[in-house]
Amino acid sequence: MQLYLPIAEVSVNIFLLLGIGGVVGFLSGMFGVGGGFLITPLLLFIGIPPGIAVATGANQVVASSISGVLAQMKRKAVDFRMGFVLLVGGLLGSWSGVGVFAWMTALGQVDLFVQLSYVLFLGLIGGMMFVESARALLRSRNAGAAPVRRSHVHTWVHGLPLKMKFRASGLYISVLPPLAVGALVGFLAGIMGVGGGFILVPAMIYILGMPTKVVIGTSLFQIIFVTGFTTIVHAVNSHTVDMMLALLLILGGVIGAQIGAQIGLRLKAEQLRILLALLVLVVAVKIAFDLLLMPTELYSVTPVVLP
């Protein structure tokens, strides 16, 4: 069954869209990532114009994240306080990120900038996470049943002022790191059009020292607002949100998120981390290959964006 998308002005298969939404939603429910870094390439692959893929993908991410957060809230696995602090940083970061994105678009090199950012951040973070979680997994297998508790490791981060109690995470740390982490993630979200979960989740685990159990829900909570903000900005500035496309992606996504959350709860923390690390690395390698190998079509046609 084909559906004509009014803003994208292309006709696509309904089941294909539901499927893409479902897969991305599943990953978001399981790992606490928004899924934006997957949804944009998938939509581009089926022929949706880039601007619309980014903006409508953001819209879908909001829905999956809400679905995922509600699932996590049932298990009391969301730290709202931390979420709010991250959120404040996130909105500020997103605002400046969108500005830089607009500047890059004017230069005509936004694709390259986005690709390089993806490869750099995904590669770095994926690599670090992979190493850490592989070590943790091996340690837990050798040491027996009890896994090593990481939550009371004190780093330089814990020496900063303006401390606040984050009961759900079991932390008493300064608000500055969460604000900074939120801002960095928001900035990258504004540039890459993603929720930033793939950076937020490792940052929360390794920089802030939050337990993995709380990280997923809190990350989703922050993503809701940052991607919601991004959606509005795209809708108002460039009219690139296609509600019909969003509706189908969302339908698939929210169901996928629920299933993903259930399966994620059954995995051990180390297993989740290593799977996410692998996923992130695979995407980073794919984008790196795209940059290094000669593309099949050297020329690209884009409509002129009127100021």
Binding site: Y4, V236, V301
Partner: protein, 255 residues
């Protein structure tokens, strides 16, 4: 005096065949395409007849060309080059206007049906439909960019050349079936029909097909452009409601 009379006579003699020339009487199966939610392309039948006062002249046969042209937009074409190990966009060329859709259908091979001077005068084939003034200054091999545009859009079925797709019966009746693709842009699509003999255009006709979004498609498109903030907020509410509904639904299923 005699020279003037001779000139006048020559003019009259030349005018005589013009008065008895062939003209097109044409029609379209539909002059309005409504893009609804499940739009999957449409087929337009372009038909017509040749009206002539005298029987068809001897010699080369009559040929028919039909073109369908979608709305034109400015485009930027970029080319990737390997720089410092990675492939990135380097040169770019701005096209003033290129049609979003362009189909040319003829009764036979284009070289036989149309001469290049007539093509230039009436701007029939694709090369003349793409307006790219001054691109020579933008890049060293700018014609390559236009060739790439044509190649990309030909592969995408946005540009089409269908030689032999127009059926001409007994030099009088013609029909052409043009399939409009599913990925259609809204606008006025110009249909032109040409009668040619020995590569020269004898007569031409023009019709317009209105392609418009209808119903919910139109509503969403207009709202997105006229009330973007409301539209954005509505998208978010949709997302929120869907997220909550899925969560509630699963909760009920699990019980």
């Amino acid at each position: 005096m005699i020279r003037a009379a001779a000139l006048l006579f020559a003019l009259l003699a030349a005018a005589a065949p013009l008065a008895a020339s062939e003209t097109i009487v044409a029609g379209l199966s539909q002059n309005r395409v409504s893009i609804t939610a499940n739009y999957d392309g449409s087929e337009i039948l372009i038909y017509g007849a040749v009206r002539r006062a005298e029987p068809a002249p001897e010699g080369p046969p009559l040929e028919v060309i039909v073109t369908v042209e979608g709305p034109s937009t400015p485009l930027v074409i970029r080319r990737k080059e390997k720089t410092l190990g990675i492939w990135l966009n380097r040169d770019e060329v701005t096209i003033d206007a290129a049609p979003s859709f362009y189909a040319v259908a003829t009764t036979g091979p284009l070289s036989r049906v149309l001469s290049s001077t007539e093509d230039l005068r009436h701007r029939i084939t694709l090369d003349h439909a793409i307006r790219a003034v001054g691109i020579a200054a933008e890049a060293a091999d700018s014609p390559e960019f236009v060739t790439a545009l044509k190649r990309i859009r030909l592969a995408d079925d946005r540009y089409r050349l269908a030689e032999g797709a127009v059926y001409l019966v007994e030099q009088t009746l013609f029909r052409a079936d043009i399939v409009l693709p599913a990925n259609l842009t809204e606008g006025d699509y110009r249909v032109r029909m040409f009668l040619t003999r020995s590569g020269r255009v004898i007569d031409s006709q023009e019709r317009v097909i209105n392609v418009r979004k209808e119903g919910v498609e139109r509503f969403l498109y207009l709202t997105a452009h006229k009330q973007p903030l409301l539209y954005g907020i509505a998208s978010l509410i949709l997302a929120a409601v869907a997220g909550w509904a899925a969560s509630a639904g699963f909760r009920m299923l699990r019980r």
